[in-house]
């Protein structure tokens, strides 16, 4: 323990971690919610199936926002860095939507 003391030359500030634990519990709650949806809503009907798929995707992006924004501190970076990261990801999503909407039928017929 003595070896630690010599490094503590300056005053060490008190930890400010309340907002980090809050995000942890939000992530946990969203995951629990996903489990509840997975086991209570039946995918037997078309409506149920697509409702489940869309709610799962939305909740995934909610979790993504908290992990990247708070844990990776992207919210605190300058605007140009935020857009450097977010813009290419938006293009990937756009690419995926275009692929499914325009080419989905064709891929389904040739496979």
């Amino acid at each position: 323990m003595a070896s630690h003391i010599e490094n503590n030359s300056g005053e060490i500030a008190k930890p400010q971690t309340a907002h980090l634990w809050k995000v942890f519990f939000i992530l946990l709650a969203v995951t629990v919610l996903e489990f509840i949806i997975a086991f209570t809503i039946s995918a037997d009907t078309e409506v149920g199936k697509w409702f489940k798929i869309s709610i799962f995707i939305i909740l995934t992006f909610v979790k993504c926002f908290y992990i990247v924004g708070t844990f990776m501190h992207l919210k605190e970076e300058v605007k140009s860095l935020i857009w450097t990261v977010v813009l290419p990801v938006i293009f990937v999503v756009w690419f995926l939507i275009a692929l499914v909407l325009l080419e989905g039928e064709y891929i389904g017929t040739v496979r």
């Binding site: 930890p15 798929i53 993504c64 992990i67 450097t84 290419p88 990937v92 692929l99």
Partner: protein
């Protein structure tokens, strides 16, 4: 010793320090760019999984009028994940759909919060706190890897229908197991490299490398990577296990 560095670069094009581009260090900026490229790789894997999955018939397409509660495994239709992943260690024969993968998700989210706590401690230059939270993060990483090893082993050995390999699996079309091995395997490789990096920076912290350097930015850089690995798991969890 009067040495002059003759540079062929014109004076006006030289960057002589000052404010960093985007106000982050070089290493941190490059880590973001690397993670962006890794995002493309994982997107490619998950997009191809989605397209292949929906090009195979589902259970209800070939059995109209039946309910998912009558689901059985067949080579003709794509399996539903909650019936494939329903085993938990030490609970042999008990059907607990997605419980184990839920535990794995919890482990990874937890190790993500301990990592960000280590980063926070680094900002305050609190060496003892960085060490404590890095140890928790490393523990979480090893636990996750162990869980994944168990999951793979159970998936490969199967439940009496011949198990799974790259050309055949008892759960459905061969492509199902192929994607399982490639996507979770590629993610697991990332976790493994993350654990190695975590051990490395823990070692450096204990040896006072960052204390001497005057800042703990290396914890932040590795932290970015570790959170990314957690983020990828969030997406794998949704698209492979839930949807």
């Amino acid at each position: 010793m009067a040495t002059t560095h003759a540079s062929s670069t014109p004076e006006k094009l030289l960057w002589k320090g000052g404010i960093q581009p985007m106000k982050v260090g070089y290493g941190k900026l490059m880590m973001w760019i690397f993670l962006l490229s890794d995002t493309f790789t994982f997107s490619a894997l998950l997009i191809s999984y989605g397209l292949v999955r929906f090009s195979f018939p589902g259970f209800k397409d070939l059995n109209p009028g039946k309910s998912f509660s009558d689901f059985t495994f067949s080579q003709d239709w794509w399996p539903i994940p909650e019936r494939v992943f329903e085993a938990v260690p030490f609970l042999h024969g008990v059907s607990a759909p997605l419980v184990f993968v839920g535990i794995m998700t919890f482990i990874l989210i937890f190790s993500s919060v301990t990592m960000v706590l280590a980063v926070e401690a680094g900002h305050r230059r609190d060496k003892a706190d960085v060490e404590k939270w890095m140890l928790w993060t490393i523990l979480g990483g090893f636990t996750f890897l162990g869980s994944q090893a168990w999951e793979w082993s159970h998936f490969i050995h199967g439940t009496g229908g011949g198990g799974a390999n790259l050309v055949y699996n008892e759960y459905g079309p061969a492509a199902f197991a192929d994607f399982f091995f490639f996507i979770t395997g590629f993610h697991g490789t990332h976790v493994l490299s993350g654990v190695v990096l975590n051990v490395l920076i823990f070692y450096n912290t204990v040896n006072g490398v960052y204390e001497k350097r005057g800042h703990y930015e290396m914890i932040e850089k590795v932290g970015l990577y570790w959170h990314f690995v957690d983020l990828v798991w969030v997406f794998v969890f949704t698209f492979f296990y839930l949807v």
